[in-house]
Amino acid sequence: MNFKRAFTFPAMLLVLALFLAACSGDDGGEAEATSSSDAKTVKFMHLWPEGSSAQHHRVVNEIIADFEAEHEDIKIELEVLSNEQYKDKITVLSTSDELPDVGMTWAAGYMEPFVNGNKFAALDDVVEGELADDFVAGTLEAFTINDSVHGLPLELNISTIFYNKQIFDEYGLEEPETLDELNEIVATLNENGVNPIALGNRDAWTGSMWYMYLADRIAGDKDALTQAINREISFEDPALVKAAEEIQNLVDADSFISGFNGLADEEAKSMFMSEQAAMYLIATWDLPNFTTNEDVPQEFRDSVGYFKFPTVDGSGTTDSYVGGPGVGLFVAENSDVKEEAKTFASYFVQQWGEKAVTDVGVIPATKVDTDALDLPQMYVDVLDDLNAATNITLYADVQMSASAAQVHLDMIQALFGGEVTPEDFAKTHEETLSQE
């Protein structure tokens, strides 16, 4: 019996120890938090890792350092993830009510469930206070849901077709103004064995931009796509079907790099940047790669130009763009340090404006006086275009609700892959949108 006891006792101890360890976990955490309570910690998550967005990353760190120097009682705890991982993590964190105090969000349809689920704090007081009149018209509206602002916009983007001037010169090509001219360029490049257009349609939002532009041009003055998403008109509108047809014409003419449906946007971009493809449609968040980013060879940066998306059969205007505000800052509703978080978010937006222009080379959503600044020519041109813009259509997948956006992106891949007819493409959209 002694032997038996010798085994029972340690076994019980072991179980007890496990229990205690499990229970004490929380206590330990709290003790740590309270010990440093004199300096409040604001958790901040952003999506610009050092590797892929070096300049963004550096500027964020500068702003944080300045903020901490000015506010000694607030510490910023940083977490950085790349785009897709960031989206996943934010979802998980919000499900378990553990959102960072300050983080980044996309506008409109993307942030709607977060706002309706009461996860993002209303920021009307911040916007009406120190940030009043700072934002470019239209940007704040995209972050306004139920008549209240829930995000502070940081970026404003329009998309244009960037092209390689060296390749264009070599074959005597000029910037196209109509779709027909673009088709001729594609034909010439294909004859000479040059990939015409880089496209990474595994990230189907890139293909969606092509579709959106064609729809915008063909529909002319009316913003057919936005109207269809808002249920003002049917998605089976002739312009939206015709745009789908034009996509398949482009695909049939081998306009895009081979295997685009299996390539990520990053892969397509690297083909354009290694001069393996002549053109690339992307938004202005990539401007630094074509202007100021020192990691990209100067020779390549000098050879990049851009042109506005061409008109189709005389319809549409080149001053209408696909684009809109990119990410904005949210403050978590259930944050323990909400006031400090708001202070930081507001400070960040104010600092970001000018630094985004001078140090990062992207277009901020806040007004910046650029006259006094020494800026790359391409950047100045884009700003001028933006000022002359007659219309900016917000990305379709951001406008739509998450589940409709998923259908849209799948359908874009199917359309480019030639799996659906333009009619069925429109019909599936119509069915999905009308169900909501």
Binding site: F7, R202, G262, Q406, A414
Partner: protein, 295 residues
């Protein structure tokens, strides 16, 4: 031994010793499992409030063509992984024989197992790249004019991903078979040799029957593993283009995390569990041993 028997005959002690493991499994697996079945009864975007809608999600799932397409892809993967086991057994038979160089080969086969799924995915994305990839470069140098864009072609993408998935687990199964084969007493094989059995006869009549039990276990393992497979699909294609490489787990993920339909995603997850359970039972029945082979 005496002490051991005494300890093991006390039910309380058995209970105590297994308790930590049971607790861990309950907290990490069983409870979430029932929770996902429960969430499947809800209309829930994962962020806001839940709304009870009964079996609606499950009924929709059973009529969802995309779900059944992804289920078909999962079953195809299960069948291909099952078939690949035969190849692994053949390789293991060679490795377990006393040929020169098998030691080195055994290590080479193990390498894919040491790589993380994401690394393997990145590697094969590069291999399959339509214009700069290794595979198409080789094909073009062999005179193929228009090599396929492997991950973009709806008819090919699924099988293109099967290759690295099956390659990834080669080392694991070969190692299991190798260990089982090394367990066969040398005397049996010596005796067979003296009786004049050819190497093929030794393999077919002695070695394979003796590792059959292990083989049956690996069939179950590979089936279950294939049905709930996720990693490479997620990284390499995300289930695309337009669902051509979607499997059940990636479809579940897409619904919950991209479409913000956690209720429906949970229902799909629960169905995935039920399907996997049924298949496991069927496969175990089908491979149940009527007689234990011993020599």
């Amino acid at each position: 031994m005496n002490i051991m028997n005494k300890v093991m005959s006390n039910k309380w002690i058995i209970f105590l010793y297994t308790l930590p493991a049971i607790l861990l499994i309950a907290v990490l697996i069983l409870i979430p499992l029932f929770l996902s079945g429960y969430f499947g009864l809800m209309k829930w975007d994962g962020i806001g409030a839940m709304e009870f809608i009964g079996l609606d999600n499950y009924i929709v799932a059973l009529q969802d063509a995309k779900f059944w397409q992804s289920a078909k892809h999962s079953f195809l993967l299960a069948i291909f992984s099952g078939l690949s086991l035969i190849g692994y057994l053949a390789v293991a038979l060679i490795l377990a024989s006393k040929l020169k160089g098998t030691n080195l080969l055994r290590k080479i086969y193990l390498i894919p197992m040491l790589l993380s799924s994401v690394a393997i995915a990145q590697l094969w994305i590069k291999v399959y790249n339509p214009s700069n990839g290794m595979l198409n470069s080789i094909l073009m140098s062999l005179g193929v004019d228009n090599p396929p864009a492997w991950l973009a072609d709806n008819d090919l993408v699924l099988f293109a991903i099967f290759v690295p998935i099956i390659w990834q687990y080669a080392g694991f199964y070969i190692l299991i078979y190798y260990a089982a084969l090394k367990n066969i007493p040398e005397s049996l094989i010596e005796a067979a040799k003296i009786d004049g059995a050819s190497p093929l006869q030794i393999a077919m009549k002695i070695k394979i029957p003796l590792v059959m039990n292990v083989f049956k276990v690996t069939i179950v393992l590979s089936f279950v593993g294939s049905l709930k497979y996720f990693d490479l699909i997620y990284v390499m294609t995300g289930g695309g283009p337009n669902g051509a490489s979607e499997v059940m787990a990636s479809y579940m993920y897409k619904l919950a995390f991209s479409s913000y339909d956690f209720g429906y995603g949970s229902a799909i997850g629960f169905l995935l569990l039920i399907i996997t359970l049924i298949v496991t039972i069927v496969v175990r029945r089908a491979t149940a041993n009527n007689e234990e082979i011993q020599y």
